[in-house]
Symmetry: C2
Subunit: 224 residues, 2 copies
DNA sequence: ATAGATAGACTAGTATACAAGTAGACCAGC
DNA sequence: GCTGGTCTACTTGTATACTAGTCTATCTAT
């Protein structure tokens, strides 16, 4: 497992949650892996309590399964959950970008502008990690532009299922097309062009071609 | 606070979560109330740990605010959160009922049928609590009919904001119109009539006229 | 009288101890 | 060889102890 430094005012619980989540989404912790509260606590240098609280959160999100008195496991990838999270994301993204076209305030548009600019910058440098971060931030900013930050937060836990298979996807975030989509969405929002914006979201999400059959063939042990 | 019995195989944490949530949504625990982990633990007959875990969950949902080393409070009603949860609900409900029109399996339709029948039954008896439960279950069943149970679960935490002001609303769940809406939605699903179904959802959610100004006047101390 | 220091009683965050239950290794008896 | 019981070493669930920070009331010094 790839650990990390504890941030300045980060509580032990938030720290444990963040590191565990990142490792699960990035597949450093493989689906089906047994995780021990004690072991993780030792590894992270904190006690069981905050680790346990983090694990409970992740279990509520459905990417960890807790079996009382037996153990906790990283959930196997459940295609129906992936599909469902994608369903929610598509619905919400479309509604939110439509709203953003109407009411996006100038300062948030500026933020998005900077974000897309950086994506283009790091695309040249082929810095995949950086772009992955910027990609996530981009989507957050769209929600912010529509005044629906909480909606983003709520849905983000469910999106972990989707994020995890994105990691498996052949279509990487480094792809030129992805960044181009973002640029076009930004322009649509600035122009207040709802129809185009919604169309772009649809197209964009369609890009993450999640070839379930192929993924299952390559990593049968990851799937339910 | 109105407590309750611990269910058969319910963990202390789930028990604490359920009772706290119900008391907050029903406004038995008034917005702004200071809640003490120790006090609640004593009252519920469990230790601080499960109570604390429940409180953290509710804080993540945004209906409790934790101020480290100071105290935890039942959040004041935040109109923007109410609006946002309503926004999400409307969007999801419409998409889900549309899907239900397409793929609702026979057995789930039967369940909905029974549910609506019971609503009509208890409407005569004016059993508001029963109908409130059935109302919630009805909406869950629509999601189930569309195969989106997890989506329901995920959104339900956010809906707590909406549910809480529903308690304040003059328009009660006992209203004949509400039950009639449900009956009509069921018929639309059975007929596979998407347009009507979506229209009904829109109309239905519009019924919970949340007259913010009036509520604020009656209970100014509840609002942010 | 007033401003500041201080002590105590709270809080949540974290650590640790204990309880209850599971799974698997091991061994006895057949 | 196989079956069944038992013991051990784990697991999570819960309880309790400790840490560190905040607020308030009181007391002191000016």
């Amino acid at each position: 497992m790839h650990t990390s430094e504890r941030l300045p005012r980060e509580t032990a619980r938030d720290f444990a949650f963040r590191v565990l989540r990142d490792n699960i989404v990035s597949l450093d912790l493989k689906p089906g892996t047994l995780i021990s509260e004690n072991e993780i606590a030792m590894e992270f240098g904190v006690s069981r309590t905050p680790v346990r609280e983090a694990i409970i959160d992740l279990a509520k999100a459905g990417i960890i399964e807790i079996l009382p008195q037996r153990g906790s496991y990283v959930s196997l990838i459940d295609p129906s959950m992936v599909e469902e999270s994608r369903f929610v994301r598509k619905i919400l993204d479309k509604a939110v970008i439509e709203l953003a076209c109407e009411i996006a305030p100038k300062d948030v548009i500026d933020e998005i502008e900077e974000n897309v600019h950086l994506q283009e910058f790091y695309l040249e440098k082929e810095d995949a990690d950086r772009i992955y971060m910027l990609d996530n931030q981009f989507h957050y900013l769209i929600y912010k532009a529509a005044g629906k930050e909480t909606t983003y937060d709520m849905s983000s836990t469910m999106m972990l299922h989707f994020d995890r298979v994105r990691t498996l996807s052949v279509e990487t975030v480094k792809d030129l097309k992805i960044v181009k989509d973002h640029r076009e969405m930004l322009e649509a929002i600035k122009a207040g062009d709802k129809e185009t914006a919604v169309f772009l979201v649809e197209k964009h999400l369609g890009r993450y071609k999640l070839d379930e059959a192929q993924m299952k063939q390559e990593h049968p042990e990851y799937f339910k």
